[in-house]
Symmetry: C2
Subunit: 675 residues, 2 copies
């Protein structure tokens, strides 16, 4: 690593990469003063900056302090130092530690040298674009919206209905971290609202509503090592439990009788089942919108009579039980009263519990910035009401809604606490599991996230897709989500089979369910969901053909488990995600850099899920430098081009790496599952 100051240009280089470049006519750093204007409704945020000043810091003076290189920035050579950047070499790269000397500064722009042909990925879990170049990405945890594409009628209807149609960059899980094709990653240590702008040919502009503590450059010679280092930096997930690979998790939400019935039907048709996931374990309420869950996290005896014995019986049959929780407690529940009495709820400006309207019922969030409240949620709810009563996992929902006018126990500025909340929510869950001694055995899954969620959340799920093949809210978006989240250290990702959101007459077809199940077989958790409107949408248990198709895909999923166990081990050891972008192992083939609807499932499998309606063939791209064996036909293809393969229902386009240790085993699967 070298820091040069020549002809007025200050340059930080590392292994041929220019990480930093400053000249008074091309300053790398700008500071400003602004006021955030934030409008929020139901988890959808509209953020606008009322910007007073944006000032270029043109003058840079190189200093040595505490044995380290330090750059003092000011507006002009004779002006006061506004910002200091300390250059801290670390084993994996270099950190730029930033210190502001003007308390009024609450905006920062940092320009990172770029090249026109550079690719950039990451920024947390992105649903629309894997390659981030050419667009800017506001980073603020929120609902992603329904449709997420201003050109579709559904998006417009969602917008009008007040629910929010969303946009390409909206995500439950943003993270100010990107990976460059120049083999470096840049992470900004901050929870402030940020906007990473990759539209310019010559630089990336990183904008923050606050001054980040530091910018961390991580370097590596290859992408896999880079991802490994990011995983080490952000935290590694525990190994997945063996039981999760033993079949699909069936998502149901209509009481015990319904659960028993669907389970029997599924087993009868040969569906491999690892767990029942009953969202409605704590009960439901009727609203004019429909049936909603009752947000008081205790077993509902009416809906699930004799639940202890039932869960035990399920377990005896090799089937686990999973439930549901979120950070909210409903006003008419017992836990709300307990939390309010203890002073554990997020408060509004008047000091009262901040009630949030979720549609005819009011809730308050537990204030996880209060360590006692966080502990209470872990121990009183997650341990006592759930783990102690038979839960082997749950959906840990929400985390994106912390209002920016909240009053928090820690005194934190809610504009900074908002993005931090998902990771705190993850930690509350992880703490419960750990305190019960069940880390690596119990699996909770989350949709919200931010820097640090990696250390606590064992499994992401992609949230609420539309029940369709739409470009920005359908099946293919969860591939993009898995790949981008995977690059920044999330090894495990999965989604609702068949999607979730059915609005405005858009309902799930058997085909959407089946194509989704084909993909889900090649993810670490295969889980169905009845969707937001179960009665109006197709369910797998309504059709024998679909049941049989699902059964076959679950057999494939289970049959893959020896291979997946190895991937899980690799994830535990190296932090490599199970679902990987093609370039992770084929960096020399730049054609792979823009592919976001295919993935490597470990090094030996390439999965190219069908994501359009009514097709019976598919044209995947196979990376150059290898040969690929089509899983179903055994046909061998040379990499470096698109190929055509049959893609009947039940035969998702999947390829085995020629020459892999796993080749024979994987190619034997088609025969083994057709019994």
């Amino acid at each position: 690593m070298t820091l040069e100051f020549e002809h007025g240009t200050l340059t930080l280089k590392a292994g041929g990469r220019v990480l930093f470049n400053h000249h008074e006519t091309r300053p790398c750093c700008f500071v400003g003063i602004g006021t955030a204007i934030v409008k929020t409704r139901k988890g959808h945020a509209d953020l606008r900056d009322d910007l007073d000043e944006k000032i270029a810091l043109r003058a840079a003076r190189l200093q040595r302090r505490n044995g380290r290189e330090c750059i003092d920035f000011s507006m002009s050579a004779d002006g006061p130092v506004v910002l200091s950047v300390e250059i801290v070499p670390v084993e994996t790269g270099v950190h730029l530690r930033i210190q502001s000397h003007d308390a009024r500064i609450n905006r920062l722009w940092w320009r990172v040298p770029a090249e026109a042909d550079e690719y950039v990925w990451g920024c947390g879990e992105q649903f629309s674009y894997f390659n981030l170049r050419g667009r800017h990405f506001p980073l603020w945890t929120s609902e992603p919206g329904v449709g997420r594409d201003k050109s579709t009628h559904i998006t417009w209807q969602a917008e009008i209905a007040g629910g929010g149609g969303g946009d390409y960059y909206k995500t439950y899980y943003p993270q100010p971290t990107f990976v460059s094709s120049h083999r470096y990653a840049l992470h900004a240590q901050t929870t402030a609202y940020a906007d990473f702008d990759f539209r310019r040919a010559e630089y990336h502009e990183l904008h923050f509503w606050g001054v980040p503590e530091q910018l961390e450059f991580t370097l590596a010679d290859d992408f896999a090592t880079l991802v490994e280092r990011l995983s080490t930096r952000f935290g590694r997930q525990p190994r997945l439990p063996e039981w999760l690979h033993q079949g699909a998790v069936l998502g149901l939400k209509n009481g015990r009788r319904h659960a028993d019935h669907v389970l029997a039907l599924a087993l009868e048709h040969g569906v491999q089942v690892s767990a029942l996931w009953c969202e409605d374990w704590a009960g439901v309420r009727k609203t004019s919108f429909g049936t909603r869950l009752f947000w008081d996290w205790r077993w509902n005896e009416e809906r699930y009579p004799d639940h202890a014995r039932w869960v035990q019986a399920l377990r005896g049959a090799g089937i686990r039980f999973m439930g549901y929780a979120n950070p909210y407690l409903c006003e008419d529940g017992q836990l709300f009263r307990e939390a309010r009495e203890l002073g554990y709820l997020v408060r509004d400006r008047s000091g009262a519990a901040q009630l949030v309207d979720f549609g005819e019922f009011m809730c308050a969030s537990v204030d996880f910035t209060n360590p006692a409240a966080a502990r209470w949620f872990s121990e009183r709810i997650l341990v006592r009401e759930m783990l102690d009563q038979g839960h082997d996992g749950w959906m840990a929902d929400f985390g994106e809604y912390l209002p920016v006018d909240a009053q928090l126990a820690s005194g934190a500025d809610p504009m900074l606490a908002h993005n931090a909340f998902p990771s705190q929510w993850a930690e509350v869950n992880a703490h419960a599991v750990a305190s019960a001694g069940k880390t690596g055995e119990v699996v909770f899954f989350m949709r919200s996230g931010y820097t640090g969620v990696q250390a606590h959340c064992p499994m992401l799920w992609a949230g609420d897709q539309s029940v369709d093949f739409s470009r920005h809210d359908g099946l293919q978006t969860v591939i993009c989500a898995a790949l981008s989240a995977g690059l920044v250290g999330n090894a495990y990702h999965h989604s609702d089979i068949g999607g979730y959101t059915s609005l405005f007459g858009n309902t799930r077809t058997p085909e959407v369910f089946q194509r989704w199940a084909e993909m889900a077989a090649f993810t670490p958790m295969m889980r169905t969901h009845e969707g937001n409107r179960p009665e109006q949408n197709f369910q797998f248990y309504q059709d024998v053909d679909v049941l049989r198709h699902l059964a076959r895909m679950t057999r494939l999923h289970v049959a893959l488990s020896p291979y997946v166990r190895e991937l899980v081990e690799e994830a535990a050891q190296r932090g490599l995600p199970l679902q990987r972008p093609l370039f992770l192992h084929y960096a020399d083939d730049r054609s792979t850099y823009d592919i976001q609807d295919q993935y490597l499932y470990g090094e030996s499998l390439l999965v190219a899920p069908v994501h359009t309606v009514d097709v019976r063939s598919w044209h995947p791209y196979l990376p150059a430098g290898a040969q690929w064996v089509h899983l179903w036909s055994g046909e061998v293809f040379a990499g470096g081009m698109r190929v055509e393969v049959r893609a009947e229902l039940g035969e998702p386009p999947v390829f085995v790496l020629q020459g892999s240790r796993w080749q024979d085993y994987l190619l034997s699967l088609p025969a083994s599952i057709d019994r």
Copy 2:
């Protein structure tokens, strides 16, 4: 007027108003450097600023130069002077002459002191909001869009169809001039893109993509005098010709046979006709979109055989002829070839004529920044082809489309030339009329505008509304347009009866036509239009009841002409618009400040057009401090409240000022028109 510098605060006051207020902690002026990113398609512009710097000029030093007060602004007390503002008292107020001392500066923000209860109006011709407070208004001449309301399906469809759905601030005629309820007007002398932001309680922020020459404060004790002064500043229109008051202008576009037929039908049913307006006089072309006009501005013999004799015959019957022109010439026309040979067309960056695709035909605009080209258009086209051949007026269409990558003869920056173009186009038309000695006799009407259009354009028309009652693109928007344009010096305004734009299955009903005609009777030009899709929309000549209703409204229009002549004289003498906001004469009644769907037609009439479907009563607000006589019933109402009146078709809610000189005459009209 006083300029004070006390306790570090610099304040410019005039008659109790604070025009200017600066302190280093609350600077009034900010400068910046940015790069405009402009995407344009079919007259719809998407402008974004890539802003590098925005710097507060905190230090102000008061100087005296050339006998005038002058303020030197800099970033800090010891920094170089960045901007100087010379304070130039003028008879009607004060001008702040701005000079930048840094050539890189191309952005300016200026904060004008405001109060929370202040109202603001103007900014050219605004269609959605008359009171501008609470919103910001980008000022850039453009297509206004179809629907103009993100919550309507039509807007969304227009957006998707690539035509542009528009938004509340989009207008053909923006102008950086506003009128404050504090009895002052502020005009910025510039043609740069601007954004006037009235969202803040404490100040208005005026933003410019360039440094304006000056900010002009005009003061007056009452609103009427203020408007008079603005009219003097921007230019006054000639008196309207007597012939225009003698009936409606019938808009037709299907050749002579159709014109003859409709005219006969209209006359037969008692419609008073002042002129035939035949858009298609120069011919048409067929495209897949439909029939379009042929943009080669010469009589088309096929469509209008023996036109000279025909026009003469019409004139003999007291009916004038009006045509159509715009700044474009179609590539396959004769005038295009002439203009290209002369080098009079706007060029692209390669130096070739800049062709614009209008949908299966290509056109180029004449370059009015070249005085010879402007003269050529006036004399070769408007005089020789139109005035000399029987035209007594025309629609002077377009003016909003000048591309920002154009190469202009004057060498002007197209970012500055874009907003200037409408006024140049107006001048070309006015020059033709003047050179034929027909000013005040010939009437051309325009939709595009900018500062200065007042001096050249004798009549505005409101452009292309949707054929409906919609809030942001229907009937009521033309009232808002007339009021806002009127405040900044445009005395004459009118619109297409029944609207123009019929898309996505939205078609004109007889009711929309009739309600619109009722309003049009109370405007200086009553003109029909067949719309963009004549065959699919209701036309007045298709229904005897509507013909009779129209006939009655034209009789009312003609019967009003003695009164209107007096208003025309008032406009010529004082520059007061015919259609006036209620507060112009009732400033003490603040309830009138927000009313944008009613107007005073001169001082003696209050018009409250019906603008919703299927109602038979209406609830107008009548200003306090006067009594009002309902035109149709003679019932007298006290002002200061909303009243209920019948509003049958044919009886638009209109009130006569009790005690007006015109009272008896106006109240006699209902009887006189029902013959």
